[in-house]
């Protein structure tokens, strides 16, 4: 799994840990030297780590993780060690340097995400299943909205609806959320990452819903914008009663479909970003598409490749990322449409 250049690394990142040894927790360091994996954690997690990690993982319980990590680094007798300088704190690096004077510490931002940037068939299947289960929750939420008028015996508000959506997404405890879902009505949807309020839901409202779950630790992510009426659904084809809603929706949908259709292996990620941006810019709303077109996804909800105007990553088969253009009119409303695509035989296919 490792690039030839990276023969030894350390990581306290949970996704990297899980990828390497099948277990992770919020208080641990992983040391990988060639194929030897050492997982150092405290007494709260060591039992579980032993039970759940892969067989080739050596679990060491420690009350001082950095001390133990450095002992193990020194014991391994390696000359150089890669670490992620975008997630390792200044203090941690100092503490390691003091104790591991003979080892050359090589900074590589997001090095483990780079290792995971092209997904295996098994990973693609897991992300696909995650997104399928995620989409199912959208259907359950739509069915709920078509038939129920209260939540916990009170009028439905943005906040209670977001909570109800979380219950459906988690399927009563079977799945974790991959992020706190965004459920925003009307002008609150003009904030791409809105916090839910106590605004009551009423017919004719525009609902922006951006959510994802984790299946076997792999994230999904999807956004739909829909009209709330007794026939509500979260399909991509939407009929709005408000003309401006429809006009903006059609631009965003065109941008999203255009970007998916024209993405191909060999392009830079910035060129993929430009595909969606171009459609929105030509329609006269360029200044209201205020974020990147998409992001990679896997064990992390946001990982490489980043589909932004500044990203030089070359798109390749096996990559999975979101395509999620949006237009946000402050004080009025916002529209975003998001799917995940994977690159196969050079083209983008919706997961």
């Amino acid at each position: 799994m490792l690039n030839q250049e990276i023969q030894a690394f350390i990581s306290n990142d949970e996704s990297a840990q899980f990828y390497e040894c099948g277990y992770s927790c919020d208080s641990a360091w992983l040391l990988k030297v060639y194929n030897d994996i050492i997982f150092i954690t405290d007494s709260r997690y060591s039992l579980e780590a032993k039970e759940l990690s892969t067989k080739n993982t050596q679990i060491i319980q420690s009350a001082n993780l950095i001390d133990t990590l450095c002992e193990q680094i020194n014991k391994a007798g390696i000359k150089s060690l890669t670490y992620d300088n975008s997630t390792t704190s200044v203090l941690t690096l100092e503490n390691i340097k003091i104790r591991c004077k003979e080892v050359d510490l090589i900074p590589k931002p997001r090095f483990h995400q780079s290792l995971r940037i092209k997904k295996t068939q098994d990973e693609i299947r897991k992300i696909q299943k995650s997104q399928m289960l995620n989409a199912k929750a959208y259907d359950i939420l739509a069915e709920f909205l078509r038939t129920q008028h209260t939540i916990n015996n009170a009028a439905i508000t943005e906040k209670t609806l977001q909570f109800q959506a979380k219950i459906f997404l988690q399927d009563f405890g079977n799945y974790d959320l991959s992020f706190e879902p965004i459920l925003a009505l009307n002008h609150n949807a003009a904030k791409p990452h809105a916090l839910p309020t106590n605004t009551p839901l009423k017919e004719g409202d525009l609902i922006l819903f951006d959510a994802g779950i984790k299946f076997d630790r792999y994230c999904s992510d999807r956004t739909r914008t829909a009209l709330f009426n007794p026939q509500i659904n979260f399909d991509k084809q939407q009929k709005f009663t408000n003309k401006k809603h429809q006009q903006i929706y059609d631009i965003v949908l065109k941008a999203q479909e255009y970007a998916i259709k024209n993405t191909h292996a060999g392009m830079r990620a910035s060129e993929v970003d430009a595909l969606a941006r171009e459609v929105i810019h030509k329609a006269g709303y360029g200044e209201f598409f205020t974020h990147s077109t998409g992001h990679g996804i896997g064990l992390d909800i946001h990982e490489m490749p980043f589909i932004s105007p500044r990203s030089d990553t070359i798109i390749e088969d096996g990559m999975i990322f979101s395509i999620e253009p949006g237009i946000y009119l402050p004080g009025e409303f916002g529209i975003r449409i998001e799917d995940l695509v994977y690159i196969e035989n050079g083209r983008a296919k919706i997961l």
Copy 2:
């Protein structure tokens, strides 16, 4: 609010940001120079930041947070700037140093938690309210367990019970969790931070439940260990049918009560830790009390003062922390009892 020594600081920590300006998000930097607060965030959050932050906060929208932060640092014309080297990444510090050559960057681990270590009356009220609402969810869960035998039409398992507990804790969307609650049965409770399994709940089971919510962003935290039978409650006084459960429970309860009773202002945090540890050690179970006695709490679920054998912090009036001894017998069961205390007139009082 600032120590006299800290006249200017930067922070990307959400608790520090919220404390200083009433708003925070996961993509922002805050710069405070004397009483001037500048909050730099991207387009996804800038509208909300303007609406929700305090009036003296200047919000700057930026597509490159570090560039903008450094421009503002240079513009402020300050000679020195404090930052938290335990949370700032190596890469971020490098990027700031390159752009702010004239400014002396002073590393102080957890400096903002230090500023918040003694709580104001308003903060004490909020943590008290948070803990009160948290305790209420324990009562609702106990009532549920006394009357219901299924969750979503299926037998109750550790996993579905944990999910049901989360619904009660969040009061249908009114409160956030302060951490993922731990709900562990029997031998799973021997792992201080157990993940829930599909084990079905049955009469006579021991249930360890460790949970907290956030009220107005302030965390609560509480652990009870109880016997599951038709009269279940999460009171501190428990009658177990299994003699060993009762024996261990009584030791842990004695340790907790002894520590609370004998904690006083002027002690070192390590001496508070030793109070609980001494009781458990004398009873012959010292090696099975594998974590610290407690931790401070406020905007962060774990903050200063840390009540551990290595903590030199002097206990003072206004501090709030948990007292949570436990005994964990691998493969058998675990017991933990946790309350929050605040120090008033030199003594510890349960919140």
